[in-house]
């Protein structure tokens, strides 16, 4: 048992810190620190900076232009990046589609699509969920029917994150309705500019427009855009989900969020003293701090197992549940600190209104973030689904 980083890992940590200090633009840091959504150009700018350093795709093999970092290196980068208020890397091309193409794509698909993910030529989004297929993803109904050299796609996807920026979408579609649900699904790459595709924004309860509905009406997709074999899409989807779970605990985000809560609570006055000195509030903060310290070590335990070649299965579900609860608890603390000033709202719908929003703690829209991050326990397999997996694997010997 040795809980310290090795000399190599410490050297890497310094390298990451230096890079973030020198290369991360301060305008972007300001926005991320306040939880303000970044524009497409800002995300692309950060991706380009990382790509120039060769750090945009740390999880990819070197043969595909990646960094081939091990799990500990990735953890170090994620933690340092979150502490520095770097933006989250948009995962759809880099963390989700990339690994699927590397494992199941054809040589032509790999040569064509992977470099375009790295250089920002394509912005990918994910076409998985449907209005009737959320937790029960395998019940998806979007149909793809073979017609000569094309598939003709009809249906609807939803919760498509940042679909408004995307020019490409990877989709799960039903190619065989007459077999067991999981055995009639295929994995298609679709150009968002194809006639018959319509993207409609979904306005969320915090006023944000990060998710969309994507409608397909007689959309013709060339057969060369099928990944792997027809009707084997569920296998690829499950493989993708294991990659979606990298950094699933969000330890870095929680650490950065808790530091912000403490900073705000030192500045906020309560009965003539800083709020952080108030026993009730201090107890709330301490409780989350204690939980987070334990989870950070759980995260490291699983990471070092993964670095040694073990595959996280059950543990990923546990980290997802615990990690989302802790992050949401920190969002709850942040809105409490702000007191009456949690109520004002910078709404996208009310143009020009945002200049007068008072923000004495420099906290940003903490209550809006509290509501927005309710999504953490819903998306990517809700916490109920994760608990189901944990129970099934532990108690009836099933597989994750």
């Amino acid at each position: 048992m040795d809980m310290s980083f090795t000399d190599d890992e410490l050297a890497f940590q310094s390298e990451v810190r230096e890079f973030l200090r020198d290369e991360l633009p301060s305008e972007i840091v300001d926005k991320v620190a306040k939880g303000i959504e970044l524009g497409k150009d800002e995300v692309e700018r950060w991706h380009a900076i990382l790509n120039a350093r060769g750090w945009l795709a740390p999880n990819w093999p070197k043969s595909f232009g990646g960094g081939e970092w091990n799990a500990v290196q990735r953890h170090i980068f994620d933690t340092e990046a979150a502490a520095a208020n770097a933006p989250r890397i948009v995962p759809f091309g880099l963390s989700m589609l990339g690994p699927v193409l590397q494992k199941f794509g054809s040589k032509e698909q790999q040569d064509h699509w992977l470099p375009r993910i790295l250089d920002g030529s394509d912005w990918w989004c994910q076409g998985y969920s449907e209005p009737g297929a959320g937790s029960d993803l395998a019940s998806l109904k979007t149909r793809a029917v073979r017609d000569g050299d094309h598939y003709v796609v009809n249906g609807q996807k939803t919760w498509t994150t940042l679909g408004q920026h995307a020019n490409m979408i990877f989709c799960l579609v039903r190619t065989d309705p007459d077999v067991k649900q999981q055995e009639g699904i295929s994995f298609l790459l679709i150009d968002m500019n194809t006639p018959g595709i319509e993207v409609r924004p979904i306005i969320l309860l915090d006023g944000s427009d990060e998710v969309n509905e994507v409608w397909f009406t007689d959309v013709r997709v060339p057969v060369e855009n099928l990944v792997g074999e027809e009707n084997k899409g569920w296998t690829y989807a499950k493989y993708l989900l294991t990659h979606e779970r990298a950094n699933i605990a969000g330890v870095g985000f929680s650490q950065a969020g808790l530091a912000a809560v403490k900073r705000m609570a030192r500045a906020e006055n309560h009965n003539g003293k800083p709020l952080i000195e108030n026993p009730h509030f201090a107890a709330r903060v301490a409780q989350v701090d204690i939980d987070l310290r334990a989870m950070a070590t759980s995260n490291l335990r699983i990471i070092s197992k993964a670095a040694a070649g073990g595959a996280p299965g059950l543990e990923a579900s546990m980290l997802k549940v615990k990690g989302s609860i802790i992050r949401q608890e920190i969002n709850d603390l942040a809105r409490r600190v702000a007191g009456p000033y949690a109520m004002p709202f910078a709404s996208e719908a009310l143009e020009g209104a945002n200049d007068t929003i008072p923000d004495p703690l420099g906290a940003g829209p903490v209550a809006a973030q509290y509501f927005n991050n309710r999504k953490l326990s819903i998306f990517g397999g809700s916490n109920e689904i994760q608990r189901g997996i944990i129970a099934k694997v532990t108690m009836s010997g099933g597989r994750a």
Partner: protein
């Protein structure tokens, strides 16, 4: 012992509930939320016409209610429908303070729905502390800044707390008086507020002190707790319906025990919240009213958070969308915790009052 509403209150509840169900739909409210004014003048006039504003005042004040249970009935319905019009701040708090000051002509206009008020008390850095007042009154003029003043822009008059020497007193200020500046903004849960500054602004002393403001705040605590209760009833109702209609894995999701038990817990906690609001309304005039009000506000804060979060979680993504009713209702519930002292504030106050 009788926990039934009186005939008059039952009628008020039925009338208001029917009116809001028909008129205050999600679509109507979403239009109000994105409007410049942040409130509907038509709805306000109709609430006055229905007698909803009059129910907040006693007969001596020119109304026909004014007791704790009248407030509870009105605000529970307003909360159930997610009403954003400033009944609490403008009519209840503003109106009752003017009534305490003997301004019966103005109270009459409040009840008629023709006069809007704002109570400007909290200040930047003051959080929920009642006696944190740095605005100065000196020779009939006020100078200072007030934080998150509800309904400031729509108000014809503001009721402002200020210090004259050591004593805190309340003053009446016309909105268009010299030296008044309002920086308005929308609120996450609907409606509008503003940062208000006074610079040598002429003001009329109302002859009211901090204890009068505390009494009005006690009314507001009953109101905000009842409003949160009504909103929680809507949230649990929507959740129960959704669990019975949404199918995944070939069956309604409410048939999964993991969700069914949590739904049952919400219903149990909702009854706790209902009883807490009854305590607040019933003990409003009691010698130990403050203790009861803090108990209620603390419980509503805790259960409100549970109901809002669990309702969203059990729905899934749909509850995250602006156009679905629960989104607004959940925001009303959680944001109620940021008014007149939050869960922790009232826990501390309850401890202090229990020890006394």
């Amino acid at each position: 012992m009788n926990f039934e509403l009186t005939e008059e209150r039952q009628m008020l509840q039925d009338t208001l509930r029917r009116y809001l169900r028909e008129k205050y739909t999600t679509a109507v409210r979403n239009d109000i939320l994105t409007s410049d004014a942040g409130l509907s003048a038509d709805i306000w006039a109709e609430l006055a016409e229905l007698g909803v504003l009059g129910a907040l005042f006693t007969e001596e004040m020119g109304g026909f209610g004014g007791a704790g249970f009248d407030l509870a009935v009105v605000f529970e319905e307003l909360g159930r429908a997610g009403v954003v019009e400033p009944v609490l701040d403008s009519a209840l708090m503003g109106g009752r303070l003017l009534a305490a000051a003997g301004k019966s002509d103005m109270v009459e206009q409040v009840i008629a729905g023709t006069l809007h008020l704002a109570v400007a008390h909290g200040e930047p850095g003051g959080r929920y502390d009642m006696d944190y007042v740095h605005t100065k009154a000196d020779g009939g003029v006020l100078t200072g800044r007030k934080a998150v003043v509800m309904n400031a822009e729509a108000a014809d008059h503001l009721i402002v707390s200020a210090r004259d020497g050591d004593a805190i007193a309340l003053y009446l200020v016309a909105k268009d008086a010299k030296g008044v500046d309002i920086q308005g903004y929308p609120l996450l849960a609907g409606g509008r507020a503003g940062e208000v500054t006074f610079d040598n602004t002429p003001a009329e002393p109302l002859g009211l002190s901090l204890s009068d403001l505390q009494a009005a705040t006690n009314l507001a605590l009953v109101a905000i707790s009842a409003e949160a209760l009504g909103a929680m009833e809507s949230a649990t109702h929507l959740t129960k319906d959704y669990l019975m209609t949404r199918t995944q894995f070939g069956r309604p999701i409410g048939t999964f025990q993991a969700l069914a038990h949590r739904m049952a817990d919400l219903l149990i906690e909702l009854e706790q919240a209902r009883s807490a609001v009854i305590n607040a309304a019933g003990y409003l005039e009691a010698p130990d009213a403050d203790l009861h009000l803090s108990a209620t506000k603390n419980l509503i804060g805790r259960i409100g958070r549970l109901v809002a979060e669990e309702s969203i979680q059990m729905h899934g993504g749909i509850a995250m969308t602006q156009e679905y009713e629960l989104a607004h209702i959940a925001k009303r519930i959680v944001m109620a915790d940021h008014r007149f002292g939050d869960t922790d504030y009232h826990l501390e106050r309850f401890i202090a009052l229990s020890a006394a």
